[in-house]
């Protein structure tokens, strides 16, 4: 529970809380500091040609195997697409790191891919797989 502050201290605290650097010595800000990357989408392409599948796979030529990686540390900015719950969990994790896990960098928006290929009887198959390609990442 947050202890209610005295009025004078509250005013001072309000003025002092305008700058996040005020908390640098207490909280781990994680905004790309110390060389760490914030939660974001990373691009990776898997080529079906390199796998030798193009004899049977007509289209596409490969798969966009995007993935999410990076830090989700408090305080999180708007680019991290964090929910209110994630913000709260990140804050509580700082106080109870052994009990409350860190917020995860995960896909928040996924799209489908379609694959066109020959089956073992040389029938042509078109298959749509939903939730396959990461479009956006966020801290959840």
């Amino acid at each position: 529970a947050v202890r209610p502050l005295k009025r004078k201290r509250q005013l001072n605290k309000t003025n002092q809380m305008q700058h996040s650097n005020k908390h640098a010595g207490v909280f781990d800000d994680g905004h790309g500091s110390r060389g760490r990357d914030v939660c974001r989408r990373h691009e990776l392409y898997v080529s079906f040609r390199d796998l030798g599948w193009l004899d049977s796979v007509i289209a596409p030529q490969g798969y966009s195997a995007y993935y999410c990686a990076g830090e989700c540390n408090y305080p999180m900015n708007s680019s991290m697409n964090s929910t209110n719950h994630a913000n709260m969990q990140a804050l509580i994790h700082l106080t109870k790191p052994d009990v409350v896990p860190k917020v995860c960098c995960v896909p928040t928006e996924l799209s489908a891919i379609s694959v066109l290929y020959y089956d073992r009887s040389n029938n042509v198959i078109l298959r749509k797989e939903r939730n396959m390609v990461v479009q956006a990442c966020g801290c959840h």
């Binding site: 781990d28 110390r34 060389g35 760490r36 898997v46 796998l51 030798g52 599948w53 004899d55 049977s56 796979v57 007509i58 289209a59 798969y63 700082l94 106080t95 109870k96 790191p97 799209s111 489908a112 891919i113 379609s114 694959v115 066109l116 290929y117 020959y118 089956d119 073992r120 009887s121 040389n122 029938n123 042509v124 198959i125 078109l126 298959r127 749509k128 797989e129 939903r130 396959m132």
Partner: protein, 242 residues
Amino acid sequence: GSGHRLRPPYVFPQRRLGIHERRDMQREILAVLGLPELPRPRASPAASRQPASAPLFMLDLYHAMADDDNGGPPPPHLGRSDLVMSFVNMVERDRTLDYQEPHWKEFLFDLTQIPAGEAVTAAEFRIYKEPSTHPLNTTLHVSMFEVVQEHSNRESDLFFLDLQTLRSGDEGWLVLDITAASDRWLLSHNKDLGLRLYVETQDGHSMDPGLAGLLGQQAPRSRQPFMVGFFRASQSPVRAPR
């Protein structure tokens, strides 16, 4: 809290996968993509071979599906389907000029590759029609039936599927709706699907489908008849991880 220490950035352990591990990973990727097994190398087509009709049609569907994913208008049937399969008929039988009426053309399809648990949303039979001049400028009625049961001593039991009316001079792909046959083919999974096509003139006379301009297996590869089935998975299969 207290005791905040600098946590080193997590570094994924990197090592080369062995040959068997790579093959296992490829099988896992294939399973997630819904592909049955590692693709076998296919004989590369001769340079003079035309692209076949079914792959051409399926490639158009693939692009239409990709446009749908990008926010375009959903094409017919694709909006409700996760899986589309095309089939080229393996056997074609004709009852034409050498026999008494009615004349017909029959196509047999092997449907054993349809995966279990797929619900049919639509099915079509596509056959190319060239302009016909015999008879000239007349109306033709093309009807499609499913061969339910063959008999040695009498006509086969047939189930009506679709009727299309066109002009003898028309040219292009004729699409017949055979969705009604899907209930039966899912029940008799190990049997071939037989489709029989009749052509009648306006005055009710049976006509050889070939003379009406309908092309069979002897047509150029890009104009051979084929069947298309649209499916939707009944439920997501649970995959046990290796």
